[in-house]
């Protein structure tokens, strides 16, 4: 008997994600139409085209590279969120963990003159420690991880502003450019930049991030640790009954999640692509966009690679809308609508299963070959 591929959970997840994307973009388009119907279509096309707005292939390649550079931290943030989510924890604190990752990597690079690898490791460790705070509060004091995560995001932001003020340019709120101050701290490219028309921000961070996504996938799906984490996430009472150390698992999960977010920060800031603004009044949005990417990717590490690219693609695309009419935040809006719609994924799967069941029942009525359960 032929198996209906629509029944597979993975296929359903992909379909649900595509529905979220299409609806999200559609809502964005409707809002553009409301603001000003004249340029709405061009604007939504600009958002979706992003680097393809450029006509020359070498420019396209270059700006494609830029989008990739910013996709990398997003992949790591979404891995951080989905890893914790598998253990039943909503790591909204990824934004703060990312923020202290920026702080650690830039301070080590600029104040201490470390080279890239130790800077990266420090960001990973500091992110992990920061994540552990959420874990400790959850495990030992029963503090809801969403609320403590948000509080730590703000604390992390102010801490970062305070510490990085020591390494800022004199006349501006920007941190000193690594490329001029300490080129050793830049992640090496090993020639990869040649693939992107010599885009100087292309580094081995890109392949490393993809490798890490695969490692996270293997940990979750094939190992003892993944078994334990998922059991805790599905049913923490049963995990306790089975002798798993609940508190240890919560803390360890958040340490790993925090490390991933911290690594993401180093992967971006150690390319010199951006300089941190020490008067920031907003927690970096990378951590929040990571939520969108994690859910849009169906909470699958491999899916996260693609969804992160898509989210970053439209975020970067926001820069190409006509700013005298529309705001570039239209892409944030689309991303937020997509997360909102991801809340309906479970419902979409129920509808799909009902449709399949109905069709099979009909088949069973007409012919005799269908209708097995």
């Amino acid at each position: 008997m032929k198996k209906n591929i629509l029944k597979s959970d993975g296929v359903q997840a992909v379909i649900a994600s595509l529905i979220c994307v299409v609806l999200g973009v559609f809502v964005g388009y409707v809002i553009l139409l409301i603001i000003n119907p004249d340029g709405a279509f061009e604007a939504i096309v600009a958002v979706l085209k992003n680097f393809m707005t450029y006509s020359r292939p070498d420019s396209q390649l270059r700006y494609f590279g830029n989008t990739l550079v910013k996709t990398i931290p997003l992949i790591l943030c979404s891995l951080s969120i989905l890893f914790a989510y598998k253990a039943g924890l909503f790591n909204i604190g990824a934004a703060g963990q990312y923020c202290v990752g920026i702080c650690a990597s830039l301070y080590a690079a600029l104040a201490w003159g470390w080279s890239w690898l130790p800077c990266l490791l420090l960001a990973v460790i500091v992110g992990g420690i920061y994540g552990s705070l959420v874990g400790l509060l959850k495990a030992y004091f029963n503090v809801n991880e969403v609320i403590s995560g948000i509080m730590l995001n703000w604390i992390g932001l102010y801490l970062t502003n305070m510490i990085l003020s020591a390494v800022k340019e004199e006349a501006s709120p920007y941190t000193i450019n690594i490329r001029t101050a300490n080129p050793d701290a830049l992640i090496p490219s090993l020639g990869l930049e040649q693939l992107f028309n010599n885009n100087q921000y292309i580094t081995i961070a890109i392949p490393l991030a993809i490798i890490i996504a695969f490692i996270v996938y293997i940990i979750l799906d094939k190992t003892r640790m993944g078994y334990e984490i998922k059991a805790t996430g599905f049913n923490k009472d049963a995990a306790k009954y089975a002798g798993m150390a609940e508190k240890k698992n919560i803390i360890m999960t958040l340490v790993i999640a925090g490390s991933l977010a911290g690594m993401g920060a180093a992967f971006l800031y150690l390319t010199g692509f951006e300089q941190y603004i020490v008067t920031s009044s907003q927690v970096p949005s990378m951590g929040f966009n990571g939520i969108a990417a994690a859910f849009l990717g169906g909470l699958n590490p491999i899916g996260a690679i693609f969804s992160s690219f898509f989210i970053q693609h439209i975020s970067s695309g926001g820069a190409y809308v006509d700013k005298s009419i529309y705001a570039s935040q239209i892409s944030d809006l689309i991303a937020a609508v997509i997360i909102y719609l991801c809340g309906f994924v479970f419902f979409m799967k129920v509808v799909m299963n009902n449709m399949i069941a109905k069709r099979e029942a009909n088949k069973a009525k007409t012919g005799k070959e269908g209708g097995e359960n």
Partner: protein, 513 residues
């Protein structure tokens, strides 16, 4: 009009995916009678009552009230028709007062605000008239189960309901409270109320009911006058064959003490008193020791304390001559303690895992199932283990080892847990209400497994609320009452009545530790 019917449910059929819960069932309740509805677990009693109460809509059949056909679409309709129900699991808001719970949904108002004074007068009035003693201002979570039930009954009376449904009302009561309830039911009948009494306890039905309707596997078996029938006849109607509750077993060969508990005290999560107070006992190899008692007398907490699911306050637990008081759950599991938990969905299973993954819940980290280096899971070994347990313990599911446990029936889920726990060849098996909610076939199977363990020289600690199970399966009975062990009894010599007295706290003897 002596024989007028208050409610008639005619030819009711209610289907759920895969099963027919009620198949052409007819039930007629006369005005002013106590009518019992008898059947085993899963016979369709609750479904039928849910139909009457408007919680489910039947596919076929009609309901008549006072001879007129009515449609009951939700509990509001039932209420408007004067039908009230005391649910098996009380529908009380625990942090509300008794009064708030009684008036909820039918609140009296004065100038738009709640008028609790008037409500209180009415409640005290009703409580005096029907002999239902309650404290209106007490918070529900602080009062006894008996008083909670009286609050539920007052909820119906407060709404002037004429037809009262009692769904398994005695399951949570002490024998004394059961006596009181019977009295209350007779009072209610004397005041002209019509009562539907759902039960599977024959003696209670014989004592209080006028007539009895019997269901078996969703089908209507018959309706009899209790004065014209006997317990044996009812029992045969209920099961469809002569019942042999007695479990065949050889004499016990008692060995060394496997579990020694001394002065164990466990705090309660629900109230300020300790749930388990200074309890000491032993369980030996080759015997089944049963902790008997009414639900809520500290049995659950005792098990949580023993296994380590909840911290204990004081006392000592020795297992196979080692002090394990402060040792982890995993240590005790590795040493040979197995636990069939009371709540299989909360503790026993990860419902979203496959059957195969659930079978390795306590052993996944061992070298059999995951590699020493890197901790990679050994899929082949995991599947092989699953196939073995499925075969050996007859666990039925649609896709074998790869079945998601959530999709399995309750009986097979329980078999899966039992298979997993016994297959580890434990030295001590703690089984908490292992047969709850299962049909007769499954119950017999589980009992035979417990006896087999004991015959193989293992220790079994059984916690049960069912008198028959206690008397049939165990080699020794310890009775728990209000957190204490109040008696040690021999199942071969003690009578059901005597056991009942111990469980009600009316009698106690000194326990040799």
């Amino acid at each position: 009009m002596e024989d007028a019917y208050a409610v008639e449910m005619l030819h009711i059929t209610k289907k759920f995916p895969g099963i027919i819960a009620n198949d052409d069932v007819t039930l007629r309740l006369k005005k002013g009678e106590i009518h019992a509805l008898l059947g085993e677990n899963g016979a369709g009693k609750s479904t039928l009552m849910s139909v009457l109460f408007g919680l489910y809509q039947p596919e076929e059949g009609i309901i008549k009230k006072d001879g007129v056909e009515v449609k009951i679409k939700d509990p509001n309709d039932a209420n408007a028709l004067g039908i009230g129900m005391v649910h098996q699991h009380f529908k009380l808001v625990e942090c509300f007062s008794v009064l708030d719970n009684i008036i909820l949904g039918a609140e009296p108002l004065k100038k738009g605000f709640l008028d609790k004074a008037t409500a209180k007068d009415k409640i005290l009035d009703l409580s005096k008239r029907y002999g239902l003693e309650v404290e209106p201002d007490a918070i529900v979570e602080d009062i006894t189960v008996g008083m909670q039930q009286r609050a539920e009954i007052l909820k119906m009376l407060y709404r002037d309901n004429e037809i009262l449904i009692f769904d398994e009302p005695t399951a949570v009561l002490t024998p004394q409270e059961i006596k009181e309830l019977m009295m209350i039911m007779r009072n209610l009948k004397a005041e002209g109320k019509s009562i539907l009494f759902i039960s599977h306890k024959l003696n209670e039905i014989m004592e209080v009911a006028d007539r009895c309707t019997v269901l078996r596997r969703g089908k209507y078996v018959g309706t009899v006058e209790t004065k014209d029938t006997s317990m044996e006849e009812l029992s045969a109607m209920m099961v469809g064959r002569d019942v042999n509750f007695h479990v065949e077993k050889k004499p016990a060969h008692i060995g060394d003490a496997v579990l020694k508990v001394s002065n164990l005290t466990v705090a309660s999560k629900r109230h300020k008193n300790d749930a388990v107070k200074n309890v000491s006992f032993e369980v030996h190899a080759g015997e089944i020791v049963c902790i008997a008692g009414i639900d809520g007398n500290g049995q659950s907490e005792l098990v949580y304390g023993l296994t380590g699911l909840e911290p204990i306050k004081s006392g000592k637990i020795e297992f196979l001559n080692e002090d394990v008081t402060k040792r982890s759950i995993r240590h005790k599991t590795e040493k040979g303690m197995a636990h069939i938990p009371e709540d299989r969905h909360k503790y026993g299973l990860v419902l979203d895992y496959t059957l195969a993954d659930n079978f390795i819940l306590q052993t996944y980290y061992q070298n059999t199932y995951s590699t020493k280096f890197g901790g990679f899971m050994k899929r082949d070994a995991i599947i092989k283990n699953a196939e073995k347990i499925i075969e050996k313990y007859d666990v039925r599911s649609s896709q074998g080892p790869n079945t998601i446990v959530r999709s399995m029936s309750g009986g097979n889920q329980q078999k899966a847990i039992i298979g997993r726990e016994i297959d580890r060849e434990p030295e001590l098996l703690i089984a908490v209400q292992p047969t709850r909610g299962l049909d007769i076939g499954a119950i017999e199977y589980i009992h035979s497994q417990l006896v087999k363990q004991r015959d193989e020289g293992k220790a079994v600690l059984l916690i049960s609320l069912e008198l028959e199970e206690v008397l049939d399966v165990s080699d020794r009975i310890l009775v728990m009452y209000e957190g204490e062990i109040v008696g040690e009894l021999d199942p071969h010599t003690v009578s059901e009545e005597e056991l009942g007295l111990y469980m009600a706290g009316a009698k106690r003897n000194e326990v040799k530790a």
